[in-house]
């Protein structure tokens, strides 16, 4: 009798433990290095959204646990992180990385292991081409570059442009190339293409050259780390042209470090809290109450990835990585940044937002629907 009771208890506890066994989701994010701001914003947003009850913290009756790993903005470190998260932590899916370079470092590993990885803001087209386990939650650079070119032509009326590209980042190189192609297809002329490397601090040589050719606009699809200093030096040298950038600029450091020099910088991005509706509006309001600052697009997209994975687990009825991957491919979900319809290639269809820096704040300027990007590309013959 006693033995049977113990056995029954043991089975009962065992079943309870099994039911409570958490589902682990890896967060391979950049907490240091060139993309540190994005990774830290993503972590803040994920922790906040879970604590504030904006996103579910359990699925299929099991709690969801997030396991973080610092990708250090290095492809090799991202690869190590992916291996660790999959083999040691046994995660069923991975959120990350924020930047395309590290994503490409980890992509082969997740593909081989068969664990889906979804990059919140990995815009380089190559990232999802590695295989069917690679996803993104944002638009692609071969759309973002042409959209920026169209803005340079229509919004600024620029006839000539100079481009400064960070050759050490796959993201910047790709975006620069797409911008140049589109700007010329739209009837503009790129009069100077100059290069720099991540970590560079001195841009005076490139900028003095730009001053000599005197373009109507400067396009610099680099990270805030480089652009804040470049903008300062540009204004110090007396360049007055508008500076146009990309989604990598949406970090408070741009304004902290760039100061007055970054006033008037415009850039393409994923989302802005002022334009949010539905879940996004709730998120933006609670975020501001909690942190005392405006919500950012990087955090919002990280939360989107979380929601997409949880939704996929729910629809698949299982936490099996392969089932999650298949469910992700057919996702159609209302998330923080709006409705996200995933394509089987892992690239969702998203609208483009255009922001500017005004009085030390990121302000909404205009928006371009996803359909317009397709039109521009059709014009380019693509």
């Amino acid at each position: 009798m006693r033995r049977a009771l113990i056995l029954a208890l043991a089975i009962g506890f065992g079943a309870l433990a099994l039911a409570q066994e958490p589902i682990k989701i890896g967060c391979l994010l950049e907490f240091t290095g060139a993309c540190a701001a994005y990774g830290q914003m993503a972590r803040d947003a994920l922790e906040f959204a879970r604590a504030a009850g904006i996103v579910p913290t359990e699925v299929l009756g099991r709690p969801i646990e997030l396991v973080y790993f610092d990708a250090r903005t290095e492809p090799v470190e991202a690869a190590n992180g992916a291996t660790r998260l999959i083999q040691v932590e046994k995660v069923v899916a991975i959120i990350g990385t924020m930047c395309s370079g590290p994503f490409l470092g980890a992509a082969e590993i997740v593909q081989k292991a068969g664990v889906p990885m979804i990059g919140p803001t990995t815009t380089n087209p190559l990232t999802t081409q590695v295989g069917d386990y690679c996803f993104r939650a944002c638009f692609k650079d071969d759309d973002q570059g042409p959209v920026a070119a169209a803005l340079a032509r229509d919004y600024f009326g620029a006839k000539t442009a100079a481009v400064v590209i960070d050759v050490a980042q796959a993201y910047c190189v790709g975006l620069g190339k797409y911008f140049i192609e589109a700007f010329e297809a739209l009837g503009g002329k790129v009069v100077a293409t100059l290069y720099c490397r991540s970590g560079d601090v001195d841009y005076t040589a490139q900028l003095t050259e730009i001053q000599r050719v005197n373009p109507d606009i400067i396009y610099t699809p680099n990270y805030y780390t480089e652009v804040a200093l470049m903008a300062r030096q540009a204004r110090d040298l007396g360049l007055t042209q508008p500076i146009l950038g990309a989604d990598g600029l949406f970090a408070p450091e741009l304004i902290q470090i760039g100061g007055k020099a970054v006033e008037g910088i415009h850039f393409t991005t994923f989302w802005h809290p002022a334009q949010a509706t539905g879940l996004g509006l709730l998120y933006a309001q609670k975020y501001k109450e909690h942190f005392g600052r405006e919500a950012d697009a990087f955090g919002a997209l990280a939360v989107d990835c979380y929601l997409l994975i949880v939704d996929a687990i729910k629809r698949a009825g299982s936490a099996d990585p392969k089932a999650i991957k298949e469910a992700l491919q057919t996702a159609d979900l209302e998330v923080v940044t709006g409705r996200t319809i995933m394509t089987p290639e892992g690239d969702p269809i998203k609208d483009f937002y255009f922001l500017k820096v005004e009085n030390g704040q990121f302000v909404y300027a205009t928006m371009i629907p996803a359909a317009r990007a397709a039109e521009i590309k059709a014009l380019m013959g693509k």
């Binding site: 540190a36 290069y195 601090v201 005076t204 040589a205 003095t208 050259e209 804040a228 470090i257």
Partner: protein, 297 residues
């Protein structure tokens, strides 16, 4: 024409910053034959000290800068005392590896410090440094005027210290033969501490001025300037103080001019710089002003 004048000025500004870091680098090498890989990180810390003192503790900028030099100099002495002194009798390679270890420690310390974190911080800049002066169509930043002046003052001070004082004489003696100098009754440890004090103070001055020109703090900001300073020291003849200054200026100018004349190759700027380093190491290891080193018995 004005474009080239502006480029020349850009080069001089960058070059004088390199020169300032290279002086400290070459000084430690000249005396101890130690390539102090942590020099660039000590330089980085100086910038952070200014940030801590001025932005967090609200000291006036000049006071923050002076305190930063003092604290950084003491940091240098501590590093020598803790990490290098116990290895003085060890093979030189152990010392080199330790220097790399110290370098990593200093970098990662900044990352884990809660007030610094992995994210970039804005360096506090005083107005007189970032003021812009217009001369014709050429624009000059305050830093461009101050840095060469301060670098020259540091160089003169250092030459006075090394050639006109008792400590300086001891430093030169140690550079020639450390054992014999010890036998002559000089306090080796004290002299080497002085060397690190002065070398780190120079790194601090460099770091503070670097911040004024490039006001962005990040844990790895010392790495590239450190390598550039090493290159500058090699070009000038490592161990030679005037040579380091010259090497710094040449390197800064070369870096700017390669972009000015070959804008399409601007992405290869670093490759170009390190090609110069390799060229000197292969064909003129003693640099422009260095004397051939006699192998010590």
């Amino acid at each position: 024409m004005d474009t080239y004048l502006q480029q020349l000025l850009n080069g001089v500004t960058l070059g004088s910053l390199y020169a300032l870091i290279a002086i400290g680098y070459t000084m430690v090498y000249g005396i101890l034959r130690l390539i102090n890989f942590a020099h660039g990180d000590v330089f980085m810390w100086a910038g952070y000290w200014v940030f801590f003192l001025v932005a967090l503790f609200h000291l006036p900028w000049w006071l923050g800068a002076v305190c930063a030099v003092v604290i950084t100099a003491l940091m240098g002495v501590t590093i020598e005392r803790v990490a290098y002194r116990p290895l003085r009798e060890a093979p030189r390679i152990s010392l080199l590896i330790t220097a790399i270890g110290v370098s990593f420690l200093l970098e990662n310390l900044i990352i884990v410090l809660p007030w610094a974190s992995g994210r970039q911080k804005p360096y506090p800049t005083p107005n007189f440094m970032i003021q812009i002066y217009q001369a014709g169509s050429v624009r000059i930043q305050g830093v461009t005027i101050w840095v060469p002046l301060i670098a020259a003052a540091c160089l003169l001070g250092l030459i006075f210290l090394v050639y006109r004082t008792k400590v300086g004489r001891a430093m030169r003696a140690i550079a020639t033969d450390i054992e014999t100098t010890a036998l002559m009754g000089a306090d080796i440890n004290r002299v080497i501490s002085y060397t690190f004090l002065v070398g780190s103070a120079l790194a601090a001055v460099g770091g503070i001025l670097w911040g004024c020109r490039y006001p962005r703090l990040q844990w790895d900001l010392g790495i590239m300037p450190g390598w550039r300073a090493f290159t500058a020291a090699v070009i000038g003849g490592i161990g030679n103080i005037v040579g380091a200054m010259l090497g710094g200026f040449l390197l800064g100018l070369a870096e700017i001019l390669v972009v000015a004349f070959l804008p399409g190759l601007s992405g290869f700027r670093d490759a170009f710089i390190f090609a110069i380093l390799i060229f000197f190491l292969l064909f003129k290891p003693t640099g422009i002003l260095g004397k051939p080193l006699k192998e010590k018995v």
